[in-house]
Symmetry: C2
Subunit: 446 residues, 2 copies
């Protein structure tokens, strides 16, 4: 059991004072406000840890890289990097990038992982790439839901290219077999969970999707890229006469344990399908800006009752506050109004909704909270014991009500991160580790 005292804590949408928080294992078991502590554990404002629901952690290696002219030329550069990864460099890159996430206040990550095999497609003997990620997360101290990805085609009816050989298990049966074997090989830890991903309607056919879903445990989280680029929508219409979202609905993929990623170019019907299936949406605002994807229909999704979350995706920015501000900023820019999303909802987009995406309710290691979903944002009994301490003393936050920080704060304001009841000390070698492994992957001396 752990016990923490904070001078201020976000609880039920408000700032409570002199709060004692207790956790048992990785879950918050008690929150008592207006205590009389001898001393405070940390001198900041405690808020729920941020959940990063969509990460391709090796994309960190492309931060600031030269321009492609569009998404598709960027993807070619990304494939070049993907094909240089080996388990050791994958582990080192991931560990350092996860450490950067922890320092920024992310306490869990959904790692959408598809670089499974050797560059020619040969299997590694012991799930080496998958366990490289899991061990990187454990060593960085962050919770990981490994979203092991089924990736079979380059497009509807299009075989994979040579540069995609690492991604494929041949067919759904091969992927399922590996998935279940991996499940047995996963280390026992409250930080680790195995989930699943179907790459996209480009990479998995509707029939394959149905087979994949029926072969997975009932409450495993399922993530899938949807409608990031207009071209995906066009190709999907040509192949199936349906939008990507409609393909997912017919294939039985949409559900309350499913998260669709990006969901940038949706029709009204798409939004209705996502809403009535209680599917979650992962927005990746800084990535969608970096790649010129477009602006998701955030207000329409919220009005339909859809739960939104945030992801770092290509990790061009590692700052949950920057993601949240970008969600609201782009919503304002397209609507011409202010306050599109309540700050209380922004906090939940950053934290609680993300937990629901990575740990669907009623599954193993799900979290039952004592506050109903309509209650205010903040720490709650039954939630993961994932807590971020924000230092209010910077000029940036001076005079700003903490409940409004999603619009104002920055990763640098995070001074401590507690994950599964443990305070994760910052390593001081993160930058050096990143430089070394990136120089190596780019073929330069470090």
């Amino acid at each position: 059991m752990s016990e923490w005292f904070f001078p201020r804590v976000l609880v039920a949408g408000r700032i409570a004072h002199n709060v004692r928080v207790r956790s048992d294992g990785d879950v918050i078991t008690d929150i008592t406000v207006d205590t009389q502590p001898d001393r405070h554990t940390f001198n900041g404002v405690a808020v729920p840890g941020f959940a990063n629901t969509h990460s391709h952690v090796f994309h960190r290696g492309l931060r600031g890289a030269g321009e492609g002219e569009d998404f598709w030329s960027w993807r070619r550069e990304m494939y070049r990097l993907a094909n240089r990864l080996v388990p050791d460099s994958y582990y080192r890159l991931a560990r350092a990038a996860f450490a950067e996430m922890v320092a920024a206040g992310y306490t869990s990550v959904g790692e959408f992982h598809y670089v499974h095999h050797q560059p020619d497609g040969t299997l590694y003997p012991h799930h080496d790439m998958e366990l490289a990620l899991v061990n990187a997360a454990l060593d960085a101290g962050i919770r990981i839901t490994l979203l092991d990805t089924c990736y079979l085609h380059a497009g509807p009816g299009v075989p994979l290219g040579e540069e995609q050989a690492r991604f494929s298990d041949g067919d759904v049966a091969g992927w399922l077999e590996r998935w279940h074997a991996l499940r047995e090989a996963m280390p026992e830890s409250p930080l680790v969970r195995l989930g699943a991903a179907l790459h996209s309607v480009r990479a998995v056919s509707p029939d394959e999707m149905a087979t994949a879903v029926s072969g997975l445990p009932e409450r495993a989280p399922i993530h899938i890229h949807v409608s990031e680029q207009p071209r995906e929508n066009e190709e999907c219409q040509v192949a199936y006469g349906l939008t990507p979202t409609a393909v997912l609905e017919r294939a039985g993929v949409l559900s309350d344990r499913t998260t669709v990623v990006h969901a940038t170019h949706l029709s009204d019907d798409d939004i209705a399908m996502i809403a009535r299936s209680n599917t979650i949406v992962s927005l990746c605002p800084t990535t969608e800006a970096d790649l010129g994807d477009g602006i998701a229909r955030v207000k329409d999704l919220l009005d339909a009752g859809v739960r939104l979350t945030i992801g770092t995706d290509e990790d061009v920015v590692t700052d949950p506050f920057a993601e949240l501000r970008m969600v609201e900023s782009t919503a304002r820019l397209v609507s011409g109004t202010r306050g599109v999303i309540d700050c209380d909802v922004l906090w939940k987009i950053g934290s609680r909704n993300g937990v629901e995406s990575l740990y669907p309710a009623a599954g193993p290691r799900s979290y039952q909270t004592s506050t109903p979903a309509c209650g205010g944002a903040g720490l709650a009994v039954g939630d993961p014991a994932d807590i971020v301490v924000v230092d209010p003393s910077s000029p940036r936050l001076a005079g700003v009500d903490p409940t409004r920080w999603p619009l104002v704060a920055a990763a640098e304001d995070v001074t401590a991160t507690i994950i599964a009841g443990e305070w994760i000390r910052r390593g001081d070698t993160t930058a050096e580790d990143l430089r070394h492994v990136l120089d190596e992957l780019r073929g330069r001396d470090s």
Copy 2:
């Protein structure tokens, strides 16, 4: 004369090594690369200081404040704050907010100032509000171009409201008289320059604009808000049958010493008028997002050859890198492509173009550079001796080419700011100063 040694410096669009930079007074006089210094003055990468071409510094008091539903409701809240300011609180708020800018790498500010008089419109005896700003800038160590603003009407033919009484000099002659008197009262300092602003086509009629311009010295910089909101365009069409930009052209306001601020909702003709007059545009990306103004036609402006700059405006974010990334991000989001603006151009948008806005060429205290405008970004002989040192050692920048930092870096990466040849030490009371004055202005005990 000052002399600085840096391990790396942005010069002519590239990173040069072991560079000695000399300044005399407030101007760079020599740059020598590949020197053999005994030691480096700072251990980071030196880049040109950032110019903040549009600031209403007292808006810092509204950072994170409650939502209005749109720009116009936000403005009512802003007026309430404006009417609580007195010279002392204006000075203290400005000094702290300017210090925050300096720490973030801004080395000059165009302060668009219109809170001239007492709340009932009575004149202060000694330019008290204007000199409060100038002294705040001097004490914070930042260059200021005080853009003293002519503000006469609430809209075409609409008299000012009670809450705008502080802004008005009655008529153009009154404003010009005060402007010239203020010019005599300005302290002598390389950090200080007096410029002018016409608030907008709402606040100054076309005839008044023409009179104002003809009453100013030939090379005084002139700034004006243009087409921030669609409603301004509509009202202008009703009143004059012209767009705001066309009104400015007819009134003789557009020129190479003029900066139009926001320029969000422009027609093709507007862009052509701005381009052929060599008028500068001040974009305020984080403010335009915060207020839901819309996305400027950045690519079209650049294609037409228009010089863009950045401003903090309402100061919801104090981070030049965040502004630059937001310019490019929004341009990508509307175009669906990447690399809309070269990083080299982004550096110039952040620095050189801003200097040209605040110190128009051939005017007093203008800067003549040895590199032509089409040369690469970076420090140059003849430029202001305004230098920002960026620490490359954070995880955020690990493995990222410094020339690409406009897309990646953050204000926290700035470790030293040199203005007019002087290293400006950071005060450690900035946050406290902000809290005190904001509590006072909001009527709370601090």
